[in-house]
Amino acid sequence: MVDMSAKIGSLILRNPVMTASGTFGSGREYARFVDLEKLGALVTKGVSLRPWRGNSSPRIAETASGMLNSIGLQNPGVEVFCERDLAWLADIDVPVIVNVSGHSVEEYVAVIERLEREKSVAAYEVNISCPNVDAGGMAFGTECAPAAEVTRACRRASSRPLIVKLSPNVTDVAAIAKAVESEGADAVSLINTLLGMSIDASTRRPRLARVVGGLSGPAVKPVALRMVWQVAAAVRVPVVGMGGIMSAEDAVEFLLAGATAVAIGTANFVDPASTTRILSGLEAYCRDNAVERVADLTGALVTEG
């Protein structure tokens, strides 16, 4: 039997396969395809203090081996989220990590304060890297000082495990990871989407109503792996790796690069059973390669010789 457990701060997951925020709703829609109780953790879509309407349509565009989205964190606000999504999740035995958004430091904190009253929250993922909202979002995640500030404020608001989600749209992702680590983040997750654009040559218009959006899927995997590798070398806290993971092999690559857990995003749209398929594949990889603890893969990339 392979020991599949993964440790993110004080949180012990039964396995390292999580969902990527915004690609799995609050799990309800995918319960028809996967057994949610098998997941390492369920990361919810982004939640803000008040309802956000999100961006106009079209909100997605397909690109070569990838997709752009400009959903814009549409969500009903933390109150409805607690009443509806968390209430539904309460009966399901899976660690719930709530992805938190805000336009200002105060808003991030207010969302967390409301969520502190909910028993079923296992951890927070603070999204300082959404490219699809004007204020807040990515603005916090592209420089060290604001990233540190949001982290400090969220840290003060909760003693639950705090994961900070990093933007890939930066010159030095390791520096930002170090900044949030030093303010008490228990883990970092990356990558959020790469800012991109798509144009329809025949209409001469952008394919997204918002013009730009976030690139995800297999196309970004090489960039994601590189950033996970750089960040894992720079910080001591665990790294949750994501970006284009479609298969168990992809997941292994992220672990080797230094991730302690992985998140599955765009793959869910292609194969709604991706998460559990990847989980079984990962377990099989460990078995076939005499890996006793999946944690032994973390950072096990061989770079010499």
């Binding site: 319960a31 106009s56 397909e62 989205n69 959903i71 292609v270 709604p272």
Partner: protein, 271 residues
């Protein structure tokens, strides 16, 4: 110990039984799909993985045009990469499908006369609807529009199940020359129905909806949005409604026209 499995397995591989070109750029693919054929309601769709590899990454939604026996038919138009891939599949190939998905057309009790308005490939989700209505003894009036006579897709089916069939073409090669909304306006006035069902380009649906609502006739529309997940999780496909943004793949694709906010700026936040 599947937690909260709300439904039976929706994901399966289906064999292609046939893939026939019916006119320039339009085809019908027939899939072996006993489970879906037995359970699908008119207006629902399947979410198909049309390509292999990752270069056409996302699935594509297609209405179930007809269901009979163990098979379903999909009427498709080659527009881009995904539908080109679909057109290349032949008998014996397998396609990965999720479905049936979404909420289809509602057929209220007591209907006696329905007007169906289809523009272009808007004919796709109208096949099963027209058949079921006529099976229930509802009189069907059908208004169909297309660029030219050869593009009046599934016309044979529609004529055979309709009490009244009228069409228009952009080039006048069949029926009246002009827009199908002129046909629908005429039929609405001449033979007032209990309900109007519309599908086609959004501007056309909007125009038909306002004709119907102005005449005091309830109207349903089937709206198209680009869809990533197809199952309600990603919010790619929202439609503005009086209740807030709703998902075309989940609450839709069929909406009561009276609820739809056609102009994005009217949409209130929240969900």
């Amino acid at each position: 110990m599947c937690a909260r499995a709300e439904d039976a397995a929706l994901l399966e591989r289906m064999e292609v039984l046939a893939n026939d070109r019916i006119c320039e750029g339009v085809g019908i693919v027939t899939l072996a799909a006993p489970r879906i054929a037995a359970s699908v309601r008119p207006g629902q769709f399947v979410h198909l993985k049309v390509g292999s590899g990752t270069s056409v990454l996302l699935r594509r939604p297609f209405s179930v045009h007809r269901a009979s026996g163990d098979a379903i038919e999909i009427l498709y138009q080659v527009l881009g990469r995904g539908t080109r891939e679909l057109s290349l599949r032949g008998a014996g190939d397998a396609l990965d499908a999720i479905g049936p998905l979404g909420n289809g057309w509602t057929m209220p009790d007591g209907l006696t006369h329905a007007l169906l308005v289809a523009g272009g490939l808007g004919a796709a989700p109208m096949g099963m609807l027209a058949e079921r209505l006529s099976q229930r003894g509802v009189a069907v009036s059908f208004a169909q529009g297309a660029p030219n006579v050869s593009r009046l897709v599934a016309r044979g089916l529609f004529e055979s199940v309709s009490r009244r069939y009228e069409c228009s073409t952009d080039d006048g090669s069949e029926g009246s020359r002009g827009l199908v909304t002129e046909v629908s306006a005429r039929l609405l006035e001449a033979h007032p129905p209990d309900i109007v069902y519309a599908c086609g380009p959004e501007a056309m649906q909007r125009a038909v909806a306002s004709q119907a609502l102005a005449a005091g006739v309830p109207c349903q529309v089937s709206l198209e949005r680009l869809m990533a997940c197809g199952v309600g999780a990603c919010l790619s496909c929202v439609v503005g409604t009086v209740r807030g943004p709703e998902r075309a793949c989940f609450e839709g694709p069929v909406f009561d026209a009276a609820d739809v906010l056609w102009d994005p700026s009217e949409i209130p936040p929240g969900h």
